[in-house]
Symmetry: C2
Subunit: 302 residues, 2 copies
């Protein structure tokens, strides 16, 4: 098997996470169905515990660690959504979670991880995340590191979204990415894993999508996805606003990227409505600073 997981791993993950995760609703929208001339279904992972789909992966990894006999702690470094997800997964499964956060992480996020989700937080220099995590791991005999996107237990469990949405087996998979952070598209088209242009992510409004693919995720994307399309910053914000106004779902801009693809000319041309009558879109997360995002929208004349 050329991949780090099989479809059976997704099935198994679903058994692990089903009692813990929110079974998020699939909503339809007359506005978006009319706009794209087909039946559109939105899987609302913005309603998932801690905000995005990430809690699925963190929960499966934590439960598999416990099933394998682990009982000390789960450890990760993250300033964002995976930090909160692993903190809550630890708390719900009675396993201590240790989160290494850079000292430039927003205070609000640190407090959510520490106070709301009861994790142990270690603050470090932003350039010393991995070595700080290694130090914490070494000090906790039997503790386990859970990578936010490359851990196979995490990857398998993010796939449980599709089991709940039940969009069928014979589907095309189209990925959506910000135009200014297009490492996945460049990797997909060249067949070789690519990093950020210039080595660092440009400051996209879709801040949940600034991490690059890794070897485990790229192997799957390379073979099993049909297409990757990109969306401009302005269109990401415009689609985020459309979802707020038309669907009343408070998505973060990262979730607006898929909507941008849905209503793009490129998607309509490649996947014409008369042939592709149903489209499923994952609204992946809802952790958004509404005030700051509104200002960005206004600056762009939206």
């Amino acid at each position: 098997m050329p991949y780090c997981i099989s479809s059976e791993d997704v099935d198994e993950a679903y058994e692990h996470v089903n009692p813990c995760v929110t079974r998020t609703p699939v909503l339809t929208s007359t506005f978006f169905s009319t706009l794209s001339s087909r039946d559109v279904q939105f899987k609302c992972e913005a309603f998932q515990k801690t905000g995005p789909f990430k809690f699925r992966g963190a929960t499966n990894a934590t439960r598999m660690y416990i099933e394998g006999g682990g009982g000390t702690a789960v450890v990760t470094h993250s300033s964002g959504n995976h930090a909160q997800a692993l903190a809550l997964a630890g708390s719900m499964n009675d396993i201590p979670a240790h989160i290494i956060m850079p000292n430039n992480a927003p205070e609000a996020k640190r407090r959510a991880v520490e106070d709301t989700y009861k994790a142990n937080v270690t603050i470090c220099d932003p350039t010393k995340r991995q070595e700080t995590a290694d130090g914490v791991l070494a000090s906790l005999d039997g503790a386990e590191f859970i990578h936010p996107s490359e851990d196979p237990r995490v990857i398998a469990s993010q796939g449980t979204v599709s089991k709940e949405a039940a969009w069928g087996d014979n589907v095309k998979i189209v990925l959506a990415e910000p135009e200014i952070v297009d490492d996945a598209k460049r990797s997909f088209e060249s067949g070789e894993l690519q990093g950020h242009e210039g080595g660092v992510a440009k400051p996209s409004v879709a801040d949940g999508l600034k991490t690059t693919l890794g070897l485990n995720t790229f192997a799957i994307v390379k073979d099993l996805c049909d297409d990757i399309m990109t969306v401009s910053e302005k269109e990401i914000l415009r689609c985020t606003k459309l979802v707020w106004e038309r669907m009343k779902v408070m998505i973060e801009p990262s979730a607006g990227v898929g909507v941008g693809v849905l209503i793009s000319d490129e998607f309509k041309e490649k996947y014409p409505a008369d042939k592709y009558k149903r489209v499923g879109v994952v609204l992946c997360g809802g952790n958004v600073d509404v005030g700051k995002t509104i200002v960005k929208m206004q600056e762009m004349g939206l």
Copy 2:
């Protein structure tokens, strides 16, 4: 029967509207359940077609008009949610809708009614709504006036929310109202229908709740509700923000009022958590200008 409707009318309304309305999800929230120490369920009518629950009433009234042999047009005067709801109900049932709107109604609302929902709009002086509506009615032989809140067909159908939520029969009914627009509370406590203090509604952020009760609705409220509690403007906005941030549902401030009651000391004292283990809250609508509401929140230090 002392009321304009019976529970059978609600059942009948449900048969009428079931094929048309969105069966909105009931969501739970760990945050609000923890905060109120009980199982809280939110019926998300913010996801209803056109934004609030109002589409239920407009649809039932329109279908009953057609069933009764009507075919000319449905008519109302409204600058707000009922206008959009009746416009869409007319459009979906192939009956012309005529909406009388005051000339101070927001341009965006007028365009939604006219362009999105394809209704005929007549603009009038704000003081001449009823006589303009009467004129339109007189010019359309067989047309029917649908009052936004006093029409029995509308009242019966708003009750279909409770059929979907299935909160059981043996419940207490607690109404929620802005502190500065408390005509329902004053009416309930005095036993006599009261208008606005000073004759006009104060400018509450919960702009969907500024209409007073009428004779038909008050008769029901007076006998069948257990309590009416009020919420301050600041608390309405704080709760609206909490729902945005914690539940990712884009409610309008009118829907924050019920949440304000839920987490109030008054509610907790009168309905203690050990005796009242489950609470259902209707998040009644989602038509909100996010930018303007954020500014109001910031002005109040939220």
